[in-house]
């Protein structure tokens, strides 16, 4: 079962998205801010990270940069998520090191498509 780390500060978002992903056969672990997200990701064992971009402590862009700089998380796929959906957000996320990017509200089939594409044969 592929393991996903969901880094998200909004409780309802965490509850909703984790349940929906679990239903689709993923094991979901959660972090509530950027700092915790980086710590948990670096302890290893995740196949993919879903990173909200507007997070307290360390924001998603910075957390992504830190994960890309650390040898143990350098290659873990990261999908950036944001509800801002401003022009240029996508480029900013990819620049920080995200493999892909999606907006909220989440369209589950679209997000699942991106997750599966990045996980390749894992599932």
């Amino acid at each position: 079962m592929p393991r996903i780390l969901l880094v998200e500060d909004n409780e309802m978002n965490r509850d909703m998205l984790s349940r929906r992903l679990q239903r689709k056969g993923y094991e979901v672990t959660m972090a509530v801010d950027g700092r915790q997200g980086v710590e948990m990701a670096r302890s290893g064992g995740y196949d993919l990270i879903l990173m909200d971009m507007s997070l307290p402590e360390i924001d998603g862009w910075e957390a992504t940069r830190q994960l890309r700089a650390a040898p143990e998380t350098k290659v873990v796929p990261i999908i950036g998520l944001t509800a801002h959906a401003m022009a240029g957000d996508r480029e900013k996320a990819l620049e920080a090191g995200c493999n892909d990017y999606d907006t909220k509200p989440v369209e589950l089939p679209r997000l699942l498509g991106k997750i599966e594409a990045l996980l390749g044969g894992v599932k």
Binding site: N13, D15, L17, R20, S54, A83, H84, P105, V106, L108
Partner: protein, 644 residues
């Protein structure tokens, strides 16, 4: 909710926050509803699926409304946000209605989780678009308070409106109506008071009664439309039904629209909103044009050399083409300014070198060595010789006083032994014709040509300075910074001359003067020729210029062009940086042999302090084939700027 406003437009940060605040609850509504739909099997209670689908449809409508209102390419004003919130009320109601309808049912069947998710959807719907605080139909005279979580708490109203009517009842009815719509309303009981208020503060709209004692509606309208400060405030006339003729007059005089008494609430709202929308668009246009003007002003400021970086900060924050233009422009202007500052630093270093050279050199300018004229001699019945400034291949240069104009000039005489040489004389006359075409601070100005007692002479601007020759001779070699100051100015000077079709042909340290301010001036166009006439006027094989600074093609008597000057500039820079010539030889023959066979030692090898990129640029100037060199003086200037 913390939405900030910049003038009349939401800042980019505020827009981002607004999207976040709207899309987050929508994410919850859609996510939970879709999940509940997945759980809704065929055995589910009747109507459950339909209600969940209704909620989902409501959420999708809300998303479309948000996307349409907050499209990324738009400028968003507070009024847009208020309208968006109003438009979200309908889908919100639909969601709440659908989900509330399921709650009693779920309470009944003990579906705790189902129930909890429904409550989450309801709470998200409330956050998506808070229900307006005011109960519909309330006739309260109190101004409408903004909903507690309204998005634009800095602007509790849509517009600031002035009502001008002598009837107290009319004023009161209108005021209540408009306040209920969320506007900030003030009233005036006569025309005079109205004009006072308008002079004091800005209004978005004036509602103006036609018939008033003293100053009537026409007079007030004329006053408003006659002043540039108030001309653009839309005015809606208030009239009784039988005043049609008067209304036509008002509209001809610039009134936006009219309203009949008694007021129809729907018509009132529609006309007021239409007027406000038009004003908003006009304001935006005016604002846009103002910002276009700022960019134009900034361009003139750059030309005038007084552009202040960041002057366009406000325009650069726009997310349209004008903002993009302003960002590109600002960054270019900042780069130019930074370069200018670096150049200033370099010139300062150059001046320091000059200062040191002055201190080191022995005072020798009183001796008139080699010249035929002596200090105090009168020359051409107009000039008094002061001192010898230097000696060139063709004559002596004196510092002299122009007795007629009472200013110092430089006089360059042609050696008497060359007077008989018709070619040299013609060449000398060419000097003034060419030099007079060139007018630039970087080129020594030529005043006049004359002949006196068999001596041909040229008068020139007298530059009190030091030649690069003297600088190198006293300093040994120059610092990188001072050399770059010389190089940048030399590139500019050559670019000016080349643009006029003039090739110097004899660029060398003796011909480059630096004045006290560190400004480089190129002198001695005595051997220069118009490029297009070079082959016709130069005898085959006749070498003009100073061999050590000449490119191979000039030494071989082949045609020269602008790139030959660039080679000479390369030799000068090589010498400035290293204190030595790229090729050292005892005779022209051995120089030609070396020049054709050998490569110069890279300046960086001679002196490690020279940056490799600068060293490489100097070597490119010294390329044997003209086509391998930097091709133009303008390009050299750009390459030097890139080294900064």
């Amino acid at each position: 909710m913390n939405t900030t406003l910049s003038g009349t437009t939401l800042t980019v940060e505020a827009q981002a926050q607004l999207r976040h605040d709207l899309r987050t609850p929508l994410n919850h509504i859609i996510g939970y509803t879709e999940m509940l739909l997945e759980d809704t099997g065929d055995d589910a209670p009747a109507g459950r699926r339909a209600r969940l689908e209704q909620a989902l449809a409501g959420a999708r409508v809300a998303l479309d409304l948000i996307n349409a209102a907050l499209g990324s390419a738009r400028r968003i004003v507070p009024g847009d946000v208020v309208r968006l919130y109003e438009s979200l009320q309908e889908p919100r109601r639909s969601i709440v209605e659908a989900v509330s309808g399921l709650l009693p049912e779920s309470d009944g069947d003990g579906g705790g989780a189902f129930n909890a998710d429904l409550k989450k959807i309801l709470s998200a719907a409330e956050r998506l678009a808070p229900e307006p605080a005011q109960a519909a139909g309330a006739a309260s005279a109190e101004p409408t308070a903004a909903p507690p979580a309204a998005p634009v708490d800095a602007t509790p109203s849509q517009a600031r409106i002035l009502i001008v009517d002598d009837g107290a009842e009319n004023r009161e009815v209108l005021r209540r109506r408009l306040e209920r719509e969320g506007h900030a309303v003030e009233t005036a009981e006569n025309g005079r008071r109205a004009l006072e208020l308008v002079a004091e503060r800005p209004y978005d709209l004036v509602l103006l009664d036609v018939l008033m004692p003293e100053l009537d509606g026409y007079a007030v309208l004329d006053a408003l439309k006659g002043s540039p400060a108030t001309r653009d405030i839309p005015v809606i006339m208030i009239s009784a039904l039988d005043e049609l003729e008067g209304i036509v007059r008002c509209i001809e005089r610039g009134a936006e629209d009219y309203l009949h008494k008694p007021f129809d609430p729907v018509l009132l709202r529609a006309r007021i909103n239409a007027s406000l929308d038009k004003k908003r668009m006009r304001d935006q246009e005016v604002e846009y044009l103002r910002e276009v003007n700022r960019v134009i002003e900034a361009a003139s400021a750059v030309e005038g050399g007084h552009y202040r970086p960041g002057a366009l900060a406000e325009v650069t924050r726009r997310d349209d083409e004008l903002g993009h233009l302003a960002r590109v422009f600002d960054s270019m202007a900042q780069q130019i300014k930074a370069r200018e500052e670096r150049l200033r630093d370099r010139v300062r270093d150059l001046r320091q070198e000059i200062e040191w050279a002055r201190r080191d050199s022995k005072e020798a300018d009183s001796a008139l060595d080699g010249g035929n004229l002596r200090s105090g001699d009168n020359f051409a019945q107009r000039y008094e010789i002061i001192a010898v400034m230097g000696r060139g291949g063709m004559g002596t240069v004196y510092r002299a006083k122009d007795l007629e104009l009472e200013e110092e000039v430089a006089i360059k005489t042609l050696r008497p032994e060359f007077v008989s040489d018709k070619t040299l004389l013609a060449r000398f006359k060419d000097e003034i014709r060419l030099a007079r075409r060139l007018s630039d601070a970087s080129i020594v100005r030529t005043h006049d040509f004359g002949e006196w007692s068999g001596v041909c002479f040229l008068t020139m601007e007298c530059v009190q300075g030091i030649t690069i020759r003297e600088l190198i001779d006293t300093r040994g070699r120059l610092g990188v910074s001072a050399t770059l100051a010389i190089a940048t100015q030399l590139a500019h000077s050559l670019a000016v001359a080349h643009a006029h079709g003039v090739i110097h042909r004899d660029i060398k340290p003796q011909n480059l003067l630096v004045d006290e301010a560190g400004v480089l001036k190129v002198m001695d166009f005595g051997v220069a020729r118009l490029a297009e006439r070079s082959t016709a006027n130069t005898e085959a094989g006749l070498v003009i210029g100073t061999p050590a600074y000449m490119p191979p093609e000039q030494l071989m008597g082949e045609p020269v062009d602008a790139r030959s000057d660039l080679y000479a500039a390369g030799v000068v820079l090589y010498e400035c940086l290293t204190g030595q010539l790229p090729f050292q030889a005892g005779s022209v023959i051995s120089l030609v042999a070396k020049l054709l066979k050998e490569e110069p030692r890279p300046p960086h090898d001679v002196n490690q302090e020279i940056p490799p990129a600068l060293s490489a640029l100097v070597l490119r100037l010294l390329a044997k084939r003209p086509e391998d060199r930097v091709q133009t003086a303008v390009e050299l200037g750009l390459q030097l700027a890139a080294l900064c």
